[in-house]
Amino acid sequence: MSTAVLKTEVRLFRREPGAIFWILLFPTLLLVILGSIPSFRDHQADLGGLRTIDVYVPVAVLLGMIVGGLQAMPQTLTGYRERGILRRMATTPVRPSALLSAQMAVYGGAALVSALLALAVGRLGFGVRLPQQPLGYVLALLLAVLAALALGSVVAALSRTTKIAGAIGSAVFFPSMFCAGVWAPVQSMPHLLARIVGCTPFGAAAQALNQAAAGHWPGWSHLGVLVVWILLLTGAASRWFRWE
């Protein structure tokens, strides 16, 4: 990791209004819109007495990392490869892997900032309680970010052009959003569907975050699913990634 490269990539990220909006602001904006619907602030018996807005905070938290990891990062990395930016970097003492790790740091960092923003707005705007098991929450959050970055790296590895990266990214994006619970939170899914979704990285992350939010230590099965995905995806990305 080169700090100069990281600084540059942070600076370049700040010049991408689209990425800033979709990663940092959109998840919280969605939360605000949903929270403005009066019925979403009512306690629901089928959500275990929680309000809809309560279960959408973890969804918003995951949304930023899905957009950043699956949509933004693979497109940027594929563009860097396509344009020969990685090649140019390969002739310097700093290897092109410095760009790769800087990109992961930028999008991982942005996803965490986005998550903090969603938690803060949920707490201040709608009285959603902060995670009751903070340590477990942070652990689940970090694993989810790693999984998103690993999945994004696989997309970047498999895509020869930015167009393909966009297409594969979208193909993985919608199922990921579904698993994270954007359309229906995991708690309200039928049992079997919830079990299946729980085997996907973002489904497992959503359930781990929910548990930690409610004050329990996140289930080892969910954390384990995340770890397995991270290992598998990282292995696949490093095997298939091409520098040019």
């Binding site: 080169s2 100069a4 490269v5 540059t8 600076r11 370049l12 010049r15 991408e16 860097y80 344009r83 020969g84 930016i85 090649r87 140019r88 390969a90 002739t91 310097t92 003492p93 700093v94 290897r95």
Partner: protein, 317 residues
Amino acid sequence: MWRQGASREPDAMPVIEVTELRKSYGGRTVVDGVSFAVEEGEIFGILGPNGAGKTTTVECVEGLRVPDAGRVRVTGLDPVADHARVARVLGAQLQQSELQPKLTVREALELYASFYPSPLDWAPLAERLGLTAKLTTRFGKLSGGQKQRLFIALALIGNPRVVVLDELTTGLDPRARRDTWALIEDVRASGVTVLLVTHFMEEAQRLCDRIAVIDKGRVAALDTPAGLIRRSAGATVISFTPSAPLDDRDLAVLPALASVEHKDGRITLSGTDETVNAVITLLARHRITAHQLRVVDATLDDAFLDLTKADTKEEAA
């Protein structure tokens, strides 16, 4: 401005050494046994038609490609195994590459300067390449020539011992091209070794101390520009408009004749000084006056065409 604080003891070891280099892609041999050595402080040219293997050869020197066979050494180091150390002393300008579109010229110079242990001061370098007015412009907004000049600056910013320039002046206007040539001469004058890939004969003739002509993955010739011209069959070109028709049979038997061409009553012959003397004797014997007689040395262009053509013949035989 160049090689600040660099002290080097003279040594006999070539700065770049390429021995029997081979590289093929998917069964197609691109580089087929290329060997050459570039001495310290030399401007060494690699000349050749498109697809001759020039770029692949220099990419092996830069450590971007792993040779299938053969040996490449830069300052005695293997560019692949010893990449970090080679990268510190080698500056590269690639034939096709870009930067992040929203990175400004100044940020690019500062970023790349930060990669090297003792970089040049970027401000005078930018000034020298006419980039001072563009420092806050983003890469994506630069013209082709400005991008090219920025890449030349980035090749030099690390204060390298060796620079590899692939298609140095492609995309530059004639004025910028001449300025760039002067810059490269200055860089060399400070002791930097230059490996230059080009297909501009004028550029090669002006800049290079020695040239390797690469054709079909092999070194077809390696000599000074003047040596290459001398070596080619038609090193001297004689042209004139005869006052009376000349018999082609008389022309055909001229000594050391390489080619004969008739156009609009004008005859152009190429050969050697011996050919010139024989033509003059022939004309005198037939009492023919040679109007607008011109005797010129062939250019590198002619030599290049001759060298790469000869290679085709050999292959056909």
